[in-house]
């Protein structure tokens, strides 16, 4: 019955964030009567894998393709090439291509800035001033969106918060345990540490655990990125000071919706920003934020 096929290609199917994107897309498929193959590489670092998946998806002659390019430059030409046979809709991140018919992104650089603002505010709330030593922990090197968050964060700190000093700029290996170990060692080595930005879900889990273990939630403020039960729990307990949350569900849903419209020849918005929000204990009860924190994943 569903003869319209619109595949969605995410960066990493093994991550919760992308599962929410897929859930949104799945729901859109159900609502709109579109067949939505859910594709994606198994690591955000696997660029070649995503290119192959894009090639395979295009070979199936779908009505359109929704993709979240894993690396800006690398996916440029493959997207150009794909766009020659099908309309391509970008979500989440951008690629070095002008061939996207429409684009729904959250700006990761902006996300990094929001995190910096959130961290500064949290530090001010504890110590009374926007001053002190802070650190950033990145889950994996060489991942586009994480690089952008780091860049946004560092830039914002440098320009807006001269009192905050980044004393450690660490990379882990994608493992929560490594994040945990790095954090405990940072605590040991830097007794004056007041804030940390853990720039994705897995790092927020590991870092949160280190803070919880050492009961330092009121001394070291941590801003995480993205959310799940665990990190929301940490937020409630005050272990984490805040989470930068995007709207992955909407990205998935609207991505498919836009793609369907494009395939029917309708006119669509060329650029949509789905936004990123800072979630703290104060605003987490907001219905809008609550919806972001509890997406309908089935």
């Amino acid at each position: 019955a569903q003869d319209v096929t619109i595949p969605i290609i995410v960066k990493d199917t093994t991550s919760f964030y992308w599962q929410i994107v897929l859930a949104g897309a799945r729901q859109a498929g159900k609502d709109l009567g579109v067949n939505v193959p859910e594709l994606g590489a198994q690591s955000e670092a696997d660029i070649n894998g995503q290119i192959s998946i894009l090639e395979n998806a295009v070979a199936g002659s779908p009505a359109a393709v929704v993709i979240s390019p894993t690396e800006f430059k690398a996916l440029g030409k493959p997207v150009d090439e794909a766009a020659q046979s099908v309309p391509v809709i970008g979500i989440d991140s951008s690629a070095d291509s002008k061939a996207f018919t429409s684009f729904l992104t959250t700006d990761n650089v902006e996300g990094g800035r929001i995190a910096a603002d959130g961290l500064a505010a949290a530090i001010k709330a504890t110590t009374g001033k926007e001053e002190g030593e802070i650190a950033i922990i990145t889950s994996l090197p060489g991942v586009g969106s994480l690089d952008q968050r780091r860049e946004g964060f560092l830039d914002q700190v440098a320009t807006k918060y001269p009192g905050l000093k980044v004393i450690a700029d660490k990379y882990a290996d994608g493992q929560a345990t490594t994040g945990l170990n790095i954090m405990t060692d940072l605590i040991t080595a830097n007794p004056d540490l007041v804030g940390v930005f853990a720039s994705n879900l897995i790092m927020a889990q590991g870092v949160g655990q280190a803070i919880a273990e050492n009961k330092l939630g009121d001394k070291i403020r941590v801003i995480g990125f993205d959310s799940d039960d665990k990190t929301v729990g940490f937020l409630k307990e005050g272990v984490l000071a805040g989470l930068v949350v995007q709207d992955p569900y909407r990205m998935g849903y609207d991505g498919i919706k836009t793609a369907l419209a494009v395939s029917k020849g309708e006119k669509v918005e060329a650029f949509v920003d789905t936004g990123a929000n800072l979630v703290t204990q104060e605003n987490m009860a907001d219905p809008k934020i609550d919806a972001l924190l509890n997406p309908k994943v089935d």
Partner: protein, 323 residues
Amino acid sequence: MSVETTETAPAPKRGMNILFGLTLLGLLLFLWLLLGLATNSFWTPNNISNLLRQGSMTAILAVGQTFVIITAGIDLSVGAVVGFTSVIVAWLLQAGVPLWASIVLTLLIGVAIGAFHGFGIVRMGLPPFIITLATLTSLRGIGLLLTNGSTISINHEGFTDFSRADFLGIPSLFWMVVLVAIPAFVFLHLSRWGRYLFAVGSNSEAARLSGVNVTRTLYLAYILSSTCAAFVGLLLASRIGIGNATQAEGWELQAIASSVIGGTSLFGAVGSVHGPLLGAFILATINNGANLLNVNSFWQRIVTGLLIIVIVYFDQLRRRSSR
């Protein structure tokens, strides 16, 4: 690797093992001394606790791995087993299964995986590298399927508090190492089954002709390795408070490296229990020290690689000269 005597690790002299253990211990203490001089924070009780915690899981994996390597095999699946069993225990606890039952069931899954490896190697004649590589691939898939790519939070306070607890001032995680190491030592060095592991690794045909049940010995080695991994899965779940199938990626290589740094020969028939323990804590010290010294994490990788070469090289030298 069947016909070469030249390639087999030269058999160690009596007492050699102990001597090497002491050399390694010396290296570890030297590193600690150095870090104590270079940083103010190294010799704080807090940091020592952290260090012991950080090395514990790799240490247990390395001991299990050593049993397998002594039989001239290898177990590439341990990292995947850790991730998978962390999912299993989280899932069981979430489903309301009592703690003790969850733990027992998770360990049994470890036993089952090990038995499957034994089956593949003994009955199907597959090389250990291949069967454990296949399990590695499949287990991650099954774990991801179970969780649909996300993580399962563990809300059992007692369980998650355990990894943070201390006993007699020593972290409970390190006590778990002791709990594994003592029976492992008795098994490997004092019991006849341990000797059979060495015999099978040295010359399985000779062992078979002597009436050693080679099949059972191999099953045993792989079951022990997987069960250690499942145990580490429990500890990991307790430590990070979640079950997640993609965790512990690459830990198999760390475990193998620890074991080899600890003097285990990948050609089989040479190894001990204390060696891999020291190896694991040497690696943990390197990471801990690098963090304390705020060394760029990329340098950390480079140094780890070089150190593996240097340590194993000196081990070889020492063994060769002692022939």
